[in-house]
Amino acid sequence: MKTLHATIKRTLEAGDTLTVAVLENDGVKRSQAEMSEEVHDCLEEAGLEADVRLLSGDPGSELVTVAEREAFDQVVIGGGEASPMGKIRLGPITEFVLLNSPTTVTLVR
């Protein structure tokens, strides 16, 4: 959600168009529907209109594919959870997107 807030802010500043992809990820607490609802709330709060899409299937691969197929200029992802020590760890979806996306990727920290 931190990533979404940062991206919404940047989108408004730059006058860009935003599309939010909600990925299917069994490893997280919130379901895709719950995430999607939170995304809509955030957008509404910020007064930004954006397309929100639910992607099914392998999360990293789907995101990269959609970004390329629809010629998006940039993909923005979060990732960088800290260990107890404060070491930054990139999750497997983030790693996949960074290494496999032909579209430029911004990693929000």
């Binding site: 260990s83 020590m85 404060g86 070491k87």
Partner: protein, 186 residues
């Protein structure tokens, strides 16, 4: 992420601090614990990290700038810490942090997994100090009932992986860019 695998066999008989060693360049190095409630220890540790070469950072730590360094050090000091001293300066630091949201609720140190990290100031690297620090930290932790220690290291950092293996850590899976290693002390 508490699915870490530990070796079946414990590794024991590590040296315990305090210890005085002579490094490869004949510098006298003193190894002793850092105390959470000793402001002098916190200051000396912060000074070491201010001098630390940012190019030698790994996985986002240590942070840069004294303010961020102090914010990062503070919670570490309530874990288990030892330092290598040369004269009045800290030149190396090894730390164990419990993998729990509420360290105060820990009944025994054996209840949780401890994450390890070690840093040695550039001009003191490759002098045998890291190995001694690491072994003394594990000895000190063992005395305090710690049983399971893990760490992550960048997969391409072969010298670090070799050092951890020499001490008894085993490879136990990879989390994306990182290699996870673990050791059992009891």
């Amino acid at each position: 992420m508490n699915n870490r695998v530990y070796p079946d066999e414990p590794v024991g008989s590590f040296p315990t601090p305090p210890a005085t060693i002579s490094d490869k360049f004949d510098r006298p190095i003193e190894i002793r614990p850092l105390e959470a409630d000793a402001p002098d220890d916190a200051d000396a540790l912060a000074e070491m990290y201010v001098l630390f070469d940012p190019a030698d950072r790994a996985q986002g730590i240590p942070p840069t700038g004294e303010k961020r360094i102090r914010q990062w050090i503070e919670p570490l000091l309530s874990g288990i810490n030892i330092a290598a001293w040369h004269e009045d300066s800290v030149v190396g630091h090894a730390t164990l942090v419990p993998d729990t949201d509420d360290p105060a609720a820990l009944e025994t140190n054996a209840d949780v997994d401890w994450e390890l990290a070690i840093f040695v100031l550039q001009e003191y690297q490759e002098a045998g100090i890291g190995t001694q620090l690491l072994m003394n930290l594990l000895g000190y932790a063992s005395e305090q009932g710690v049983e399971r220690v893990w760490l992550t290291v960048e997969r391409w950092n072969a010298p670090a992986i070799a050092l951890y293996e020499r001490v008894g850590f085993e490879l136990c899976g990879a989390e994306s860019f990182e290699q996870v290693m673990s050791i059992r002390l009891a």
